[in-house]
């Protein structure tokens, strides 16, 4: 790929000394930053470094406390999202910004519906759906423009969010972690689109925790740490190790700290499980102390399998044997009581209580553990949750902070803490490291090893094949609702997994 950055011309957008404070945190501290036309500028930083805050300032959602923004060399104040859009800025948000009760077309054309008719201006629905299908087709996405967003899986939400941004004629395109739930093919299509936009002279600001993407798509990289600008570099001149060092202020020794460990007897076995319209005849077993990776493409029904085991999705055939006895979980409450924990894939919808505190979120699935003589014990709750916050290195002013004010990655960490809180013997992690920075990933992997070392069985569902390869003792591959392959750690390779998944 040819990369030409015309640094000689002046930037289309520059931030000068931007500072943004929230109660208890300084999200950005005097950040300088330039964006040029025709470049893909990658912004990296640990969870809570301030990347999304920067994006939201650009979007007019937040106003900076200090500093100035220059747009085409002119001082600009971006008051609201509408104004940002008029300036030609379009944004893919990290926490999607879609309305569940509307269909795909309505979402993509929200607030800028084309109209027909002279006297009575009506919304031109046929045009909306026509153009929506065209946009989706260009991205090789097969979604009916008339399906309700709320009925679609998260992976599709991300594609719709991207399609929405691409549907606008924009001069600046901002993508805040656009690929966290995309399949490899979708990522390929997206990068293709980004490249051609770059050729057309669009300035692209790209945020991701998947560092390998930096080299694939980026022209320049800027690193933020704890709200401070660390530096910018052109991609050719910098190594990934260097980027990580700049991000974390330390080196990551080993990305996947897997170690061999003793594995005990079978704790959970699934026999011929089937759920109508989702998966059929799934059988496998999980041992104590084992990490079982489940790989597959997005849409291979791994999430549904997890939900079915957890009692959140009805099954029509097969059975579970848990700790040597046939078990039937009619609802998640049963599963939790029996000692099964789930970290769901769609954490925003099925995990988070946005306006409640970090502490209340962590304890929500295991409230009875907090009951003492006089009911719920707040001191106990605070102590335990503070412990989790420390252990997972969550960046939050306190455990009383509303979870919605945390950065995306830190919210994910809280969700992980929530699934750990119930002290389960079997843990199902559905995409546990999505949106989490490299440093924190390392911590989470260590934690998983620690949990397995205590004799818990872990099922790790992940779309990142390197992660599955790096952390699992055994690997299952799913495709279209069936298990198509099983590998031991030693035998598994990326090629074999892909072959079974495709």
């Amino acid at each position: 790929m040819e990369r030409r950055v015309k640094l000689s011309q002046s930037p289309i957008l520059s931030f000068k000394g931007i500072t943004k404070r929230f109660p208890g945190v300084v999200a950005l501290r005097g950040v300088d930053f330039d964006l040029y036309e025709g470049e893909v500028h990658v912004l990296v930083g640990a969870n809570g470094a301030g990347k999304s805050t920067l994006v939201k300032i650009l979007a007019g959602v937040y106003q900076p406390d200090e500093g100035e923004i220059f747009f085409n060399d002119k001082r600009a104040i971006i008051r609201n999202a509408e104004q940002a859009r008029r300036m030609g800025i379009s944004i893919v948000y990290q926490n999607f910004n879609l309305i569940n009760k509307m269909d795909v077309g309505q979402n993509i054309f929200l607030n800028r519906e084309p109209t027909v008719g002279k006297i009575v201006r009506r919304v031109d629905w046929s045009r909306i759906y026509r153009e929506t299908s065209a946009i989706l087709k260009r991205l090789h996405v097969h979604i009916d423009p008339k399906s309700l967003v709320g009925d679609l899986p998260v992976a599709d939400h991300q594609m719709i969010e991207i399609a929405k941004a691409l549907a606008m004629q924009s001069r600046i395109l901002v993508l805040d972690e656009p690929t966290s739930s995309l399949s490899e093919q979708e990522i390929e299509d997206l990068f293709h689109r980004i490249s051609s936009l770059r050729e057309e002279g669009v300035a692209v600001l790209y945020i991701s925790h998947r560092l390998e993407e930096i080299k694939r798509i980026g022209d320049r990289v800027t690193v933020l740490r704890d709200g401070e600008y660390v530096g910018s570099e052109s991609i050719e001149k910098i190594s990934l190790e260097k980027v990580i060092k700049m991000m974390l202020g330390r080196e990551v020794e080993k990305i996947y700290p897997w170690k061999p460990r003793p594995v005990g007897e079978v704790v959970l076995s699934v026999e011929g499980l089937g759920s109508r319209g989702a998966f059929e005849n799934v059988s496998f077993s999980l041992r104590k102390g084992e990490i079982l990776g489940i790989s597959g493409l997005v849409g291979a029904r791994r999430t549904e399998l997890a939900l079915a085991i957890f009692g959140a999705l009805p099954t029509h055939s097969g059975r579970l044997i848990y700790k040597g006895k046939a078990a039937r979980f009619n609802n998640p409450g049963d599963a939790i009581a029996a000692g099964i924990g789930l970290l769901p894939e769609d954490k925003a919808r099925y995990g988070m209580f946005p306006i409640l505190s970090v502490a209340h979120n962590i304890t929500s699935a295991g409230l009875s553990l907090l009951v003492r003589r006089f009911g719920l014990n707040p001191r106990l709750e605070r102590n335990i949750t503070e412990e989790y916050v420390r252990k997972l290195n969550v960046r939050t002013p306190s455990v009383k902070t509303e979870i919605q004010s945390l950065s995306g990655g830190n919210q994910q960490k809280i969700m992980l803490a929530k699934s750990l809180f119930t002290n389960s013997e079997v843990l199902i992690f559905d995409e546990p490291t999505k949106g989490i920075d490299v440093g924190a990933k390392e911590e989470i992997y260590n934690l998983m090893l620690e949990l397995a070392g205590e004799g818990r069985g872990i099922i790790m569902i992940s779309s990142e094949i390197p992660e599955v390869l790096g952390m699992s003792d055994r690997i299952l591959v799913m495709k279209e609702g069936r298990i198509t392959a099983e590998f031991d750690r030693e035998n598994a390779t990326q090629e074999k997994i892909l072959e079974a998944a495709l």
Partner: protein, 314 residues
Amino acid sequence: MKLPVRIDWSKFGLPAAFFVMLIIFTVINPAFFSARNMIQTTRQGAILFLIVSGQTFALLARGIDLSQGSVMSLVSIATISSIYVLGAYAGSIAGILFGAMCGFINGMLIAFLGIPPILATLGMLFVVSGVELVYTGGVTLTNLSDIDQGRLFWFGGGMIGPVPVPVIFAIIIGFLLYYILKYTLFGRQIYLIGTNADASSLAGLPIKRVIVLVYTVSALLASLGAFFLTARLSMGFPQLGEAWLVLAIGGAVLGGTSVFGGKGGVWEALLGCLVIVFLDNGLIVSGVSTFAREAIIGVVIIVACLGSVIKRRV
């Protein structure tokens, strides 16, 4: 997307505004701060507090209870009718239980048939008023025996030392509710379910049970309010609750309980109802005409609702 955090005026602003309001009314007419006026106003406040607290439970669970007013009317009639038969004490309990039962039915309709709260409780409103109409023919019920009347009146109009009886009850119930919301599983579950029902179900919470309980509590508290009011008036009035529903929702929202669920509590209920009751009383005592008074209270409630909506909007 998140909202910029702004100063939570409902936390500090409203109590401050409340005290300023007390001072202003006292300056306009010192009689406002007289012992007698405080006693009678807190007495009204105690009744409203119970009703607002009930509504707060429904709102916290991301629902609403539109049947509170008609349940109050029902309790008023049922209490007096039961007293005719059972005597003051047993009759009162029977009356209150009647009301709570309506809430239980509300809860069952919402939890098990999946009827949206606004429709289920609206339906209950019509059914209850209908039943009442058929039963009473609209006639007010009075003429209790002197003993019963005396016993009943004590609950609404009596005093313990310098404090009106309903106020004592309201304080005890208030602490109890505070404890329930903050320190019991049920209480916490209400907040969780009101904030995100999908996540609650995946967290294994007993959603249906909680919903049934929430509406039962809402109606029970409305019934208690109606009981104290009935006791105070010593009469069963078939339209007793009509005006109270608006105040119940308004008071809860004014205090800072969110109509979108998961936010609010007893403290907010207390604040909201104190502001309404003292504002109303202060305006009367200051000689403000009825129309202006209603308009002012209406505007205050609407502004509070707007505030609640804006705060929550993305």
